[in-house]
């Protein structure tokens, strides 16, 4: 089994990263999932899976995700026969699914990463009553300022908070790891957004079960 050093969050957010080795299948994933995928690879000895992460900040412009995924597939076609896209719909309104179908590659099901961490079926049930929740994962807690606070302009104009979050009631932190420091930080994020706080230890959820079938 080959160990890969944990990549830097800023690089995963801004540029993405190529963590390819000798695998036969390339996972094309959101940078926000890099740590979790690498952990699962290590735990399960999935050396057949290589990883190419796209910048997590693409989520600020979801309409750019399908083209970025397509470019990654085309760039690596000469090296890999098989690809698996580790994005959910992620606000693309079905366009990523359509792009993957066109490219002949599979992708993970569900609307967002926070749905498959919770379990897509369970999340869909909860969504009927929990639609006033704002979700953070481990990565989003760590990158809260970079991916949420500053892009929404709240560092410069905090008075916009009510326009963005006035209809939300709580922040749900879906913890992949049991990390008290992240718990503390997530609670502070909830305070900054003016929301009540709830922590759920989800672990890797459907991410683990889906990746186990890629082989």
């Amino acid at each position: 089994m080959t160990l890969i050093a944990s990549p830097d969050d800023t690089i995963l957010t801004e540029r993405g990263i190529s963590l390819t080795q000798n695998g036969k299948i390339l996972l094309i994933a959101c940078g926000a999932l890099a740590h979790e995928i690498l952990a699962l690879k290590q735990i399960n000895g999935w050396d057949h899976l290589d990883l190419q992460c796209l910048p997590a900040k693409l989520h600020l412009w979801p309409n750019r995700i399908p083209a970025a995924v397509e470019a990654a597939v085309i760039n690596h076609r000469n090296r890999y026969d098989r690809f698996f896209v580790v994005y959910a719909d992620c606000g693309t309104g079905g366009l990523l699914q359509a792009k993957c179908a066109e490219l002949g590659v599979e992708m993970i099901a569900g609307p967002h990463c926070y749905s498959f961490f919770e379990g897509t079926a369970i999340f869909a049930q909860k969504a009927k009553t929990e639609f006033t929740a704002f979700y953070l994962t481990d990565f989003l807690v760590r990158q809260f300022d970079t991916l949420i606070w500053r892009p929404l302009g709240l560092d410069r104009r905090p008075e916009l908070r009510a326009m963005y979050f006035g209809n939300y009631t709580k922040l749900v932190y879906q913890a992949q790891l049991n990390d008290p420091a992240l718990d503390t930080k997530a609670r502070k994020c909830a305070d900054r957004l003016g929301l009540t706080y709830e922590r759920r230890l989800t672990g890797y959820g459907d991410l683990a079960t889906v990746l186990a079938t890629v082989g």
Binding site: D89, G94, G153
Partner: protein, 232 residues
């Protein structure tokens, strides 16, 4: 002591003031917009001209620069807040002076969805363009939409969704309208970040609108067409 370069709005000519208002709107300067609106009212401008020549024209520039990636959501929201402040002053005067009316719209975010930034921008720009707007707010069931159509008799129904999981509810509303034989009575416009033209067509909407400016232009076009049909 006042800054030498400080602009005294009341000392500007009308043309200069209109351009300055467009700049101030672009920069999201709410107090300056309120001051300038009051200056133009005092100079005898009609509320309709202030609305269209200063506020709507300024917001159209903001919208275009947002579409082109020059401005981002926070700047658009600040500009919208400034426009809203100006409209707050103008709205009662517009009713008194009888500004031209383009039509009526009922708009709301669909069931299970609480996102309203885009919807609020559309409602504001539609009002700015002379439409009467009834905003149903967020999390609207099909029953609530139908009730509003029945009581308000609008020309247009606007539906908004931000989530991939909630956008299919627009089809539920449109299908229910069809079942009840109501669909042809209304222009149905849909919008929201994950939507696209193909989705709008697939669910049976009249049009998908990618932003507030497009919503206004599309609404004007459809309403004019509807009126032409009625006059044939």
């Amino acid at each position: 002591m006042a800054d030498e370069n400080e602009i005294i709005l009341s000392e500007l000519s009308d043309d200069e003031l209109i351009l300055q208002m467009q700049d101030d709107l672009y920069d999201g300067l709410k107090e300056e917009i309120e001051e300038a609106v009051n200056i133009l009212i005092a100079r005898g401008w009609t509320p309709y001209d202030i609305l269209t020549k200063a506020l709507v024209a300024g917001m159209t520039i903001v919208g275009a620069d947002f579409r082109d990636g020059i401005l981002f959501v926070p700047e658009v929201l600040l500009a919208a807040n400034a426009m809203k402040a100006g409209m707050f002053i103008l709205k009662p005067l517009l009713i008194e002076t009888g500004a031209p009316r383009m039509g009526k719209m009922v708009i709301g975010t669909v069931k299970g969805d609480i996102h309203d930034i885009g919807k609020n921008l559309v409602a504001m720009m539609m009002e700015g363009a002379g439409f009467e707007v009834l905003d149903l707010g967020i999390n609207n069931s099909v029953e609530k939409y139908l009730e509003a159509l029945e009581t308000e008799k609008p020309d247009i129904l606007g539906m908004s969704a931000l989530l991939t999981t909630t956008m299919p509810y627009m089809k539920v509303v449109i299908d229910t309208m069809k079942e009840k034989g109501l669909r042809e009575n209304y222009i149905v416009l849909v919008g929201g970040a994950p939507l696209n033209e193909e989705f709008g067509k697939a669910i049976g909407a009249d049009a998908y609108c990618c932003d507030a400016a497009v919503a206004v232009e599309t609404a004007k076009k459809f309403v004019a067409h509807k009126h032409n049909q009625l006059n044939d």
